[in-house]
Symmetry: C2
Subunit: 574 residues, 2 copies
């Protein structure tokens, strides 16, 4: 189990208003403070504070979502090459160890040793404090380089400073040479080209969202600017040898080539919106620091997906009512892997997977073309109405099971908690894995802080609205006065100028609605606090404010969206 604890009273800055695309300095500062102290300081601190200190840092950034937390500070790190050099230099005149000796230290009992650039480090004490949890043990007895290449977050001054505290020796020259020879190259070296308009939240793995004002231009989001949320490097999949394995059904494992998937099952097309659980996390960060990528309002997009129905494939693999008596989940494994070969994974409830009305696809096309590399080429799962994290990309395996996926992302991430729950009290088993998402809407235009000329006499507000579970958005209310008075926006379920789509059957409204309202500028107002809130056909509504839905992981951020706009009176610049 990952040890997940809050950094108790260790932050240098205290509660900090974090702005979009600028994440978690409080966390970093916490690390710096701990690790820039000498070993002696560290030990005395430990004596005073007891075991809680050991957990002080652990899990601060657990989950790949948190990779960003250090990541965006690489500029700072680069500027301080001098410091880094000094840090490394200082650690000389150590005993020499063989690779064999290092390899014999790969457990908490025997000690946990690692190597980095020829240095040997005993990190036993650090394991419990590793922000990424016990994944650090994967490197035990070997080199850190391949792991650090995978998680670019480590490429920072502070991390090297931390490591230097643990140096116990140096690797002998022969073994170092061998190690260098086998060290793999950057697993991110073959990532696809990305559209320059994307706002990058994290580079490795790649996470980016489109500018909001572009997002709401199209009912169908162009694939190039569809938000990207990768947990690991984009895998290179050879289409000719690609195989999809379906397990856990009578008749053993069904294996399908891409060609078989395309030709043996009817092609089904669904327009569905995907949303990251962390969409609008930045608004939670403004209340109180949370863990995770600091998404703005655009970790949501809408596309047309085509592929085989998961239901059809399961039926072909032997699914029947007898299976439903013993199996309750359908697990998915991606082909994207970390250095140990662990793949991304998630699961959905069996009834969603097999329902005729669930529309779950094994998609091989996005917006009428082969899936782009960033969106799961050659095959991904599309689970309409369900949080993005379960729409597993680069699909390798389907497992029908009595149990949920055991993956980190199903068990210890992507869950919601009370605002009163912190890293000391959280029990990930106590909350269900997020599947259907709640009602959501946001204002894509005007942007927060925009200026509107009084001479225009009116303002047009645009945005998107969507709800999980196939619940159709039936109304969006917009206020120009912070929520005192409301008007109803016009909804749109097709491209501008096209005929509106007919209402989908109940429970199958998978696509968002775009909305727009044009209202006169209030005569007296000097600024507008524009607010939107949506209502779905179960009449669920968005909560009013962020603090009561704040949660330590910053997911499910769906309070009313607010932007402030300044009205410039005529000639006010003269």
């Amino acid at each position: 189990m990952l040890l997940l604890r809050r950094c108790h009273s260790l932050t240098r800055f205290g509660p900090l208003k974090t702005q979009r695309h600028q994440v978690a300095p409080a966390v970093v500062s916490c690390a710096v403070r701990l690790w820039s102290s000498s070993s002696e300081d560290r030990r005395s601190y430990q004596r005073v504070h007891g075991p809680s200190w050991r957990h002080g840092l652990a899990g601060l950034l657990a989950g790949t979502g948190a990779v960003l937390a250090y990541g965006l500070h690489h500029h700072k790190a680069e500027q301080q090459d001098t410091v880094r050099a000094k840090t490394i230099e200082k650690t000389s005149a150590f005993p020499i160890f063989s690779q064999e000796e290092v390899t014999s230290h790969r457990s908490l009992e025997d000690g946990v040793w690692v190597t980095y650039k020829g240095g040997v480090y005993d990190i036993t004490e650090f394991v419990a404090m590793h922000p990424g949890g016990d994944k650090i043990l994967l490197a035990a007895g070997g080199a850190l380089e391949p792991f650090w290449a995978l998680y670019a977050v480590h490429n920072q001054e502070h991390v090297l400073e931390m490591l230097s505290e643990y140096k116990v020796g140096e690797l002998n020259a022969d073994d170092l040479k061998k190690q260098k020879a086998v060290q793999t190259s950057d697993p991110y070296s073959s990532e696809p080209e990305r559209h320059p308009a994307l706002r990058i939240n994290n580079l490795k793995p790649f996470n980016a969202e489109p500018p909001p004002e572009i997002l709401s231009d199209s009912f169908i989001t162009p694939s190039a600017i569809f938000f990207k949320r990768n947990h690991l490097p984009v895998p290179q999949v050879d289409t000719a040898s690609y195989q999809l394995h379906v397990e856990g059904l009578p008749g053993g494992v069904l294996t399908l080539s891409l060609e078989e998937l395309k030709t043996q099952f009817p092609k089904h097309t669904v327009t569905a919106t995907l949303q990251c659980a962390g969409n609008r996390r930045s608004e939670m960060n403004e209340v109180k620091q949370v863990k995770g990528l600091n998404w703005g309002i655009a970790a949501i997009s809408n596309a047309t997906w085509s592929g085989a129905r998961l239901r059809d494939v399961m039926l072909a693999a032997g699914y029947g009512p007898d299976v439903a008596q013993r199996a309750f989940h359908v697990q998915f494994e991606g082909l994207d892997k970390d250095v140990t070969g662990s793949t991304y994974g998630a699961s959905i409830p069996l009834n969603k997977a097999v329902s005729e009305e669930g529309d779950v696809l094994l998609a091989y096309e996005m917006n009428g073309q082969d899936l782009p590399a960033d969106h799961g080429y050659p095959v991904r799962v599309v689970v309409p109405g369900t949080v993005g994290a379960r729409n597993v990309k680069w699909l390798g395996k389907i497992i029908v099971s009595a149990e949920e996926s055991k993956s980190h992302w199903q068990q210890n991430d992507y869950k919601g908690f009370s605002p009163g729950t912190d890293w000391d009290t959280v029990d990930f088993k106590s909350a269900p894995a997020i599947q259907e998402l709640p009602i959501q809407s946001a204002i894509t235009s005007p942007a927060n802080g925009a200026v509107v000329d009084r001479s225009l006499e009116e303002v047009t507000v645009k945005g998107y609205a969507w709800s999980g579970g196939g619940r159709e958005v039936v109304r969006v209310d917009v206020s120009l006065d912070g929520g005192k008075t409301w008007q109803v926006a016009q909804l749109r379920s097709s491209e501008k100028g096209q005929a509106p789509e007919p209402s989908p059957p109940p429970g199958r409204a998978w696509a968002w609605k775009l909305w727009e309202v044009t209202a006169p500028l209030p005569a007296e107002a000097q600024e507008l606090e524009i607010v939107c809130k949506a209502v779905d056909n179960s009449y669920n509504m968005q909560p009013d404010t962020v603090p009561p839905i704040w949660n330590l992981r910053g997911v499910l951020s769906n309070a009313w969206h607010r932007v402030t706009v300044v009205i410039r009176e005529d000639g006010s610049e003269e």
Copy 2:
């Protein structure tokens, strides 16, 4: 179409804080003011204000829910018998008409005449202003008495005052005698006995809720105190001759006796919570006057229902995939009728009706016994996860159709609107009929205004939580400080002391959860603002406050529930 308009600037009291069980005096006062003026005054008012005046009162109280609006003022009316006698006395020396002459005036073109206690009234001008909408035309050309017997709201001084303005003659003695002979007795004369603990919101039709503190005593609500929401008189159904008709399926009409329903289909049992769309309406009334019964927090209850699955009956009646191509709704007609023979009616989406997982029942048992008269004896529909109004009682007919029920309650009631929508702007066609209800919770104990002794050192807060659409309640957050800090309540899905029920399959959590939290009394606080909010497994949450979800009909009131409790310091009474 019903004409639904707000009483513009005619209210005597203006915005009024309405308390529970004391409804709509502002509306009544509006009526008084209009109709206690003389005909001459009225006409001049009409000239000044034009057509909008004609609509001033119309639809003020449309829908049976609104019957209460006058109803609770019967005490006042009784006290003022003197006034009433004077009003009637004043209208003498009028021409004499025959019943035939009266009967010839039964349309807006020919004039609309009615009789009441021997008087003849030309109410043509009043039709557009009738609070109950165009139902008034049902009485055209005949006697008002049978209609007023059905809707007790009319038994008030003001109504008679209004009527007197329209007197045009008197009925001849012979016809009056005949009329008296045929006039039926009170349609409410055979209503069942009710439990004295119930808090009555309206007597005819009967609408009542249990005291909250009793409600949360039992996971399964005893039938006697299960909230009652009747729209019409309870029908007397002869079990021996009872027939259920199923129409709109291949093979014509299927007719089932009660015995056949019980023996030809498997008996299926479901524990399901029913909630009135108007539950907690009183909190909306505190913000701004709405129309409807002033329900507290207990128009919700939980019972065990047994009966045939609707799905099984539909399959027996010829339902198949071909039907799903042309039919989208299943309509229900009750055996409860108004004086014209119109029955209560509602419909649900076809996919809910036929889904194996929808669990829709044609129930003949409640909590292990025959349905009580107030709950639909001998057969009612139970649509788990769906608003009470679609759970049609005293079921007479099932119609599989391309269209929704045309009933008033499906088309022009039980829909949600923006807080900015008023009776001048509302378009009932613009909103979907309520089906699944949103996430809900409330505090049943302590009561608002309760006093807690400081010496007790802690306070225990109890309540219920439920969500529509089979979404399971996964968490209830409770705050003692108005929402600043939160703790997580303990949930219970069985009777106290019994083993907890296993979690239902996804999308089939039909029963509420009771919850409880015991917390120390905060040292400094003199009073507590206790707040609860629930979260379901689609992570929908309750909105923070009432005003932004206020709607003219007062439905879907699911903001955080708040009660204020006073802490009595030790010896503070000395």
